[in-house]
Amino acid sequence: MTYSGGDYDVIVVGAGHAGSEAALASARLGLKTLLLTINLDSVAMMPCNPSIGGTGKGHLVREIDALGGEMGKNIDETMIQCKMLNTAKGPAVHSSRAQADKKAYQFRMKQVIENQENLLLKQQEATDILVENGKITGVMVNTGAVYTCKAAVICSGTYLKGRIFIGDVQYDSGPNGLFPAMYLSASLEKNGIQLQRFKTGTPARVDAKTLDYSKMIIQEGDEHIVPFSFETEKIEIEQVPCYLTYTNKETHQIINDNLERSPLYTGDVVGIGPRYCPSIETKVMRFHDKERHQIFMEPEGLKTNEIYVQGMSSCLPEDVQIALYRTVPGMEKVEFMRSAYAIEYDCIHPTRLKASLESKEISGLFFAGQINGTSGYEEAGAQGVIAGINAAQYSRGEQPVIIDRSEGYIGVLIDDIITKGIDEPYRMMTSRSEYRLLLRQDNADLRLTPIGHRVGLISDERYERFLKKKAAIKNEIERLEQIQVKASQENNVILKELGSSEIRHSVSLGELIRRPEIKYLQTAAFDPQRPLLHWSVVEQVEVQIKYEGYIKKQLLQVAQFKKLENKKIPKAIDFKAIGGLRIEAVEKLQEIKPTSIGQASRISGVSPADISVLLIALEQRRRSNQTEKEEGENE
C-alpha cells in the first residue's frame, strides 16, 4: 500500500557527503527539503579513510566552504590531527589534510542537518523515482510513502545494488555492513537512466591495543593548524599521531601465494576499480620490483580503538588478510575488528548530465557523488553543493549556477566527468587543472564567495567580512608598490642578512618581495608604517606579488578559455546536419551535446578542424536567423 507522504520542493536521496551538502544548500536557500537515508546512523559516514582533504581534495573542501557549504566547518570542529601537505612546494599546491574523529564528524553533521530550518531528515529507503512527461514529480520509499517534489537529487553513494567481496565470501551489502539499496536501480533504468558497475575497496580496521607502535615511525600533525573553513579563526586541539610502517618480502610472498583466491583475479569482481586506490594485491602484482609499500595507521576517532590501515585495502579472503597484515613490523599480533573488502555498486554515466548536474533525460532530476562515478568524500561534497544549489534554482525557476574550469576545482571536476566521461572512479588531482596557479586553496574565497553570496548561501554579514579582506589585500599590494627602499648601506646590510643581493638604486618594496628568497614578514624593517594585517591577508599579498608574472600568464590563458566558453552552441542544433564534420565527431557531439565551443573542444574525438567547421556552421545559422528575422519584420 502506498500513501501520500507530503509535498517538498527538493528531495535528496542519500545523506552521505554529497547528500548532506545538497540538502543543506537547498534548505538554506529557503526551499522545503526532505533528506532520505537508509540509516540515520550513517549520515555523513566515512566508510573508508578517516581523513578529509589532501592534494586537490583539500582545495575542494575550501571551495565548498567558500560557496557556503558545510564540509570545511564540519572537519574543523571534529579533526584530531591536521597537516599542510606540499609546503616545500609553491602555494598553488599546498593542500590541507585532516584526520577526523569519524563519529564526531557524523554527529556534528547530523546535528547541523537536524537543526536546519526547512529541512527534514528521515530514515527511509528510496525505491522509485516518479517521472511524468520527462520531469521528476516525486520519490517513493520502502514504507509506501509517496513524496511529491519539484526536484530531486540522487546521492546514493555505493549503496545501489552494493555487493561486498571478501575472498570467496560475497554478499549484497551497502558499505560498512549497512543495507544495500536494491530497488532504486531498476526504477532509474526504467526511466531511461543507464547504469554501469564500479568498484572500490577499503582496508581492515584493527584494534589499536594489538599494535606495537614502537616498531613504527610516528607521524605528527602540524604545530600550527590552518583551518579548512574561511570562517574558522583558530583551531587549538590536542593532536593524535598516525604511524608509518612498511610491508616486506614476506607480505608479498603471502599475496603471491594466494592470488588465485582474490576475486579480482578470479573474475568475480566485474566493476572497474580506481587506479589510485589499488588494493595491496594489485600493488604487489603491478609493481613487483618494489620491495616495500608504505602502510599508515590512522586512528578512526578519539573514543574508539579502531585503526584504519591505510595502504592495505584488499579483497583477499579474511584468513589471508590476517596472515599478511601480521607480517608487517608492529602488526605481528594484530587483531581485526572489521575486515578489508571490495564493494561493487551501480553508478550512472556522467556524460548524461548537464553542467548543473541535472540529468539530460529527466528534468528536475539531479545526481551527485559516487553515483556519478567519482570517488572521495570531498568530490562528493563538492558535487552535492552544486546539485543542491541547482535543484533549488530549478524549483524556483532560476538559472543554474555553473562554475567553470577557470573558477574552481569544482568546475574542473564537473566538466571532466560530464565532458570526457569516465572509465574508472574519478579522483581529484591538482594536475587535472590547467590553471593550477590560479586555483589555490588559499584564494578559494576570492574565487567563489561572490558566487555563494549571489545565490544566497553566503550571508550578507560574511560577505561584508569577505569584501573587507579583499580590499585589505588590494590596499596592501598597492601600498607595497609605493614604498621605495633606498640603496643605503644600512638597507643592503639587511638584504645581505636575508641572503639576498644588494640593490644599487631605490626599488619598491613590492619589487623586493618578488625576489624568491625574501618573505613579506622579513621586510618590516624597510616599512615602519606597516599596518597590522590578518595572516590570511598577508598570505594573499605575498602570493599575489611573488607570482605576479606567472599569474598574469595564466590569466591570459583564462581569457582565451573564456572566449571559447562564451561561444555558445544552441540546444536545438543538429550536428548530423552539419556538412564537413567527421562521423566520429558527430557521434561524440550528439552524445555530449556540448553547450559551448570550449566544451566541444575538450571532447576526445573532436578535432580542431571539426571545431572550425562547427564555428562556421554556427555563424551561418546566426546569419540565416538574422535574415529570417529581418524578413519577418519587413512583412
Binding site: 601537505l85 612546494k89 582565451q560 576526445s604
Partner: protein, 459 residues
Amino acid sequence: MEVLLMNEDTIAAVATGMGGAGIGIIRISGNKAIEIGNRLFVNPKGRTLDAAESHQLLYGRIIDPIAKKDIDEVLISKMKAPHSYTAEDVVEINCHGGIVPMRKILKLVIESGARLAEPGEFTKRAFLNGRLDLAQAEAVMDIINAKTEKSLEYSVAQLEGRLSEKLEELDQVLIDILSHMEVNIDYPEYDIEDITFQFIDDEIKNLIKKIEDILAVAETGKIYREGITTAILGEPNVGKSSLLNTLLMENKAIVTDVPGTTRDTIEEYINIEGIPFKMIDTAGIRETDNVVEKIGVEKSKALLNQTTLVIFMRDISKEMSDAEKEIMALLKNRKTIYIANKTDVIEGKEGEIPDPWIPMSLIEESGIEVLKNKMIEMVYEGNVSQEADYLITNTRQIQLLEKTKGSLENAVLTMNSQMPIELVSIDVMEALESLRGITGKTVGIDIINQIFKNFCIGK
C-alpha cells in the same frame, strides 16, 4: 588542444605561390598587423606604415630590426579594418618573389608576433567577420575541409618518417618529466623519489639539445619535401652522373637518398643558395633497362611529367644523335637548361657553342657555377615554381618546435630563479602542448596515465 580559432591573434602567410610570380605578397591580418609592419619597414623619407593612409602603397625596404640587416626592397600597404579582405587590419608586403627573401620576411613577421596562418584561415576570418555572404560559406567550409584533409594526409605521410620517431621520443621524455613532477605534487607522502631540480634541469637541457638537433634535421628535411624537382637527361656517358656527383659533393646539406617515386629512379637533394632542388637521377633508368642502351623516349616522357626543371646534357664532342633530337623536341615547352659537356675534348672551340647551351667540363671543373646561377635565376624569374602549401606546413612545424624549445628554456629560467615546481610545470606543459600541435594529439589524460603506470601510489 591548442585552439586558435577565435581571431584573437595576428596571422601571416605568403599570399602568392612561392617562387610563382615575379612579385610575392606576404599578407598579415589581425590587430598587431600594422605594428608588425611598422617594426620591419623602413621608408627612405622616413614615412611609417602607422602614419600612412589606408590602401596606399609605400616604397621602402624590409630590415631585420635585430640584426639591422637589409632584407629586400618592397612595396607595402595597409588596409585598415574593416575595409580589408578579412575585415581586420591587414598589411601586405610585396617583395621580390624569390623564396629566399620571402621566407626571411615571413620569418621576421612571425618573430615579431604573428602566427603562421592555417590553410584557408584568411578566408575563414573573412567569413566569420562578415565579409563573405552565405552562399560563399559552403565554399569556405569546403576549403577548410579540403585543406585540412590535405595537410592532415601530408602530415601523416611526413610523420611516418624519422622525424615522427624523433618527435615521439621527445613527447615521451616530456610526458615522463611531467609525470615525475606531477606525482611529486599530487602524491607528496608516498615514498617515491623526490624529484630534484637537478634531475629536471638535466632532462630539460637534454631535450633542448635534442630539439636543436631535430630543427637542424628539419631544416634539411625541408629540402626534399619542398625541392624543385629537377631531372638531368641525356644519353649514356655524357656525364650526367658526374654532374650529379659534383653537385652533391659540393653540397653539405645532402639529406639522404630515399627511393624515388618511380622504382627505377633515385632522388637526391641539393641546396643552392638556400633553394632546394630535388634531383632525379636518371642513371637508374639505364641500369634497370639494360636491353636498350639509350634512354627510352617513353620513359623520358613519363619522367618529364613529374619534373619541374630539366637539365639536358650532351657530349659536345659528338654529333647529335637521333634520340637526342627526339628528346629535345619533347623539351621545347619545358623549363630546360642545356649543357654542352666535355669542352675539354674540343679545346679552343668553346666559343662556337651556341646559346642557350652552357659550356661545361666536369673534368676541368668549369661551367658548374654558371649552371648553378642559371638554376637559381630560373627560380627567381618565376620560370619554375614550387608547392607553397608544403612550405607552409613545414614552417608551421618548425615554428612549433621552436616554441617548444622556447618553453623549455623558460622552464630552465623558472628553475634558476628558484620558483616552485608547479610553476616549472606550467612551462613544461606549454612545451608539450606546442609539440602536440605538430602531431595533433591532445594532452589531457596522458600524464595521469603515465603517473599510474610508473608509480605505485594510492591508499
